[in-house]
Amino acid sequence: MQQLISLRVDNTPGALMRVAGVLTSRGYNIDSLTVARTLDPTLSNMTIVVNVDSETYDEELLIKQIMRLVNVIEVVDLTNAQAVTRELALIKVTVSPDMRPALLKEADIFRARVVDAAPTSYTLEVTGASEKLDALIELLHNYGDVEMIRSGAMAMERAPQGDHRNTFAKASRVPERTREPVKT
């Protein structure tokens, strides 16, 4: 299964290295990791998706290790939370002239936009849940060769103070910093 974690970290050199380091040194396989600054220029936001063994899955284990990092301000596990998760993909697909209308129609269903048109290919931009992107890419294979770049998932909680939040924090009495959301 996949564990989805959102972090607020100091926007300092090395913060990304530390988080990635914890993941690798504890034996986790990173599926995607996105990082960018927030409204507060001293903070970055990270969304991490890791593959975990559902047999032995323990949501606290990884989160508590990440929380030990001095540059990590807040950690929220969104795996089972009410969250909006989005990913962006750029997809270049070769397409013969006669197939173009059909492709555009299908792209429309996925709300994908053409961002570049060349004589033999279209480049589409699409955002959505990761599964939606998977479905579109699957379809596009019917038209021609597909080349693709994905951003990795970004996730944001729907209700910042919801009950699901930090169930692990309550159980194990981790310090306050996970309880109060940082304004970003």
């Binding site: 050199p13 540059n71 009495r173 910093r177």
Partner: protein, 577 residues
């Protein structure tokens, strides 16, 4: 008040403000400006003979004084030589600040002479690390480094400083208050409901067992632990890291548990219904096969690091907090309720104590001695008799470490110094050196195997140069003993690359360094050697040739259940129900 100062001056000023009295280090190109300031600075600098030993000495100092140990190295090879000691301190949660020089900022990333990515290399070797490129940040970072090193779960912090910062100048304002670290919070105090849950847990138990470790030492919680043990009247086993937390002479002490733990400690943990883990991390050397560890017990786990709770063993009651404060609160409640709640299982608990005491009486560590040969266990017993629970004993890694842990008593915390988590050979002698610098009035033994001694050999020069009265004992069995033991037991006695031949003549070796020393082969010679060592006001090197093929027992084969210990040669016997 401000004044124009160089980065090097600011560094030493900040260290001094943090209470640093001594630095273990080794100079080089980019740290020259620091050494120029050190030349006539009140902070003492001890020139070790290898940077790794600077980290071990700083650890020995920290482990015996409770203060933050400080070490220093130059860029490149100096910094990379620190790595083992940093990981050692990280594994054993020892407070340490390491200072390294870095090439000037404009050369970073250009493969400059003696450039290494110290910041990257030590990321996983430290609790936190810094690269200082701006002189204005320097003093704040030094104060942060000390704060991080000693707060919460202690650990090593490295500060890598570019040469341009060390030589630059700025107006220095002494930091009056450290800027708070928004990502670092320590929870010291438990909530009342947690204490109540723990209290219920304790009084509900029929066969309570206290498993106490390094957290007791770093929390300075020995007085509270003693009171707790006496209120609960429960047996207590220490991890290797916890020795001295409760006086070894205390009647409830049943020695160490785990791979080379006592029979009573390992049987006790197997039979208990209430395992009380205090500042321990359920290390695999302790637990053996996890599912057979304390199989009948509910678990109460107190630790300052939330990540330790439920890491290896699920806790029925987990309390995150400083174990000293947790025990203080718990002791109050235990005293208040001893008659009421404590009454229920009183008889069961008395019966349990009697059982554990029976194990302790019937299976002490073997009393091995011989007229002609020096048995390694006998050597440890003699050191124990001399130290009498009051001396500092720093050991290296291997068989001698385990025998020392089994046979030598420690009636106070911070007397026992060993590399537990990483098990770094070469640790012992430099650690003893650091301990002696921190405790000039205490008797300090350094005990190494012949293998580990050879790894720390160069520090004989440091010890000689300071005429440091460390009593250096080599338990010489001619082998890498611990590895040979495994080869004997699990690899058909195929002794592969474990002979420590060409060992130097220690009397000549001592003389070559200008210190006193002797090599002994029999128990009577050992007495002469020990007498001389104690009478000598300076350092003394005592090489003790012991029985060559002796094994450490009891032994839990790695991955085995702790109650299936091998008790003694020649035939392995499984002990259990």
């Amino acid at each position: 008040m401000s004044s124009l100062m160089s980065g090097s001056q600011i560094l030493l000023e900040s260290l001094a403000r943090e209470g640093t009295e001594i630095i273990f280090g080794y100079p080089g190109g980019v740290t020259l400006p620091i050494y120029d300031v050190l030349y006539d600075h009140p902070i003492q600098h001890v020139l070790v003979r290898h940077e790794e030993n600077a980290t071990f000495a700083a650890e020995g100092y920290a482990r015996t004084t409770g203060k933050v140990g400080v070490c220093m190295a130059t860029s490149g090879p100096g910094a990379t030589n620190l790595v083992t000691g940093l990981v050692d301190a990280l594994m054993d949660s020892i407070p340490m600040v390491a200072i390294t020089g870095q090439v000037p900022e404009h050369l970073i990333g250009r493969d400059a002479f003696q450039e290494a990515d110290t910041f990257g290399i030590t990321r996983a070797a430290t609790k936190h690390n810094y690269l200082v490129k701006n002189i204005e940040d320097l003093s704040q970072i030094i104060h942060e480094a000390f704060h991080l090193a000693k707060s919460g779960r202690p650990g090593p912090v490295l500060v890598d400083i570019t040469k341009n910062v060390l030589t630059g100048r700025t107006n220095y304002f002494p930091a009056t208050k450290m800027k708070p670290l928004r990502g670092f919070h320590v929870r010291l105090d438990p909530d009342d409901d947690e204490i109540e849950a723990a209290l219920q847990f304790l009084w509900a138990s029929e066969r309570p067992y206290i498993y106490a470790g390094g957290g007791i030492i770093s929390a300075a919680a020995s007085p509270e632990l003693l009171e707790f043990v006496e209120l609960l009247e429960a047996p207590l086993a220490h991890t290797v890291m916890g020795l001295g937390g409760l006086p070894s002479d205390h009647p409830n002490f049943i020695s160490m548990l785990g791979m080379h733990g006592s029979y009573a400690a390992n049987m006790g943990v197997t039979e208990t219904d209430a395992l009380i883990g205090l500042g321990v991390r359920f290390d695999d050397r302790v637990t053996g096969r996890l599912d057979a560890f304390a199989p009948n017990a509910r678990v109460l786990h107190v630790d300052i690091d939330p990540a330790e709770i439920n890491k290896n063993r699920r806790a029925d009651v987990g309390v995150v907090g400083d174990v000293k404060r947790v025990l203080q609160k718990l002791n109050v409640r235990l005293r208040e309720t001893k008659e009421s709640l404590g009454g229920h299982n009183r008889e069961n608990r008395a019966e349990w104590r009697a059982r554990v005491n029976g194990w302790k009486r019937e299976h002490p560590f073997a009393d091995v001695s011989d007229e002609n040969e020096i048995k390694p266990q006998y050597l440890m017993k003699r050191i124990d008799e001399i130290s009498n629970g009051e001396g500092i004993v720093a050991v290296d890694v291997g068989q001698h470490q385990m025998w020392a842990a089994q046979y030598i008593r420690f009636n106070h915390p911070r007397l026992w110094v060993n590399s537990g988590g990483l098990g770094s050979m070469g640790f012992g002698m430099p650690a003893a050196m650091g301990a002696k610098f921190g405790n000039p009035d205490k008797l300090v033994f350094s005990i190494s195997g012949d293998g580990g001694f050879m790894m720390s050999l160069p520090e004989l020069a440091t010890i000689a140069s300071h005429k440091l009265p460390v009593k250096i004992i080599i338990m010489n069995n001619g082998w890498l003993g611990m590895v040979r033991q495994w080869q004997e037991l699990f690899y058909n006695r195929r002794y592969s690359s474990v002979a420590m031949d060409a060992f130097p003549n220690c009397e000549l070796l001592a003389a070559a360094f200008g210190i006193k020393g002797r090599s002994v082969d029999t128990p009577s010679e050992l007495e002469v050697g020990l007498r001389e060592a104690l009478a000598e006001p300076g350092p003394y090197l005592l090489n003790v040739n012991v029985t060559r093929e002796e094994n450490v027992f009891p032994m839990v084969p790695s991955g085995g259940a702790v109650n299936e210990m091998i008790l003694a040669p020649p035939k392995p016997v499984a002990v259990g129900d």
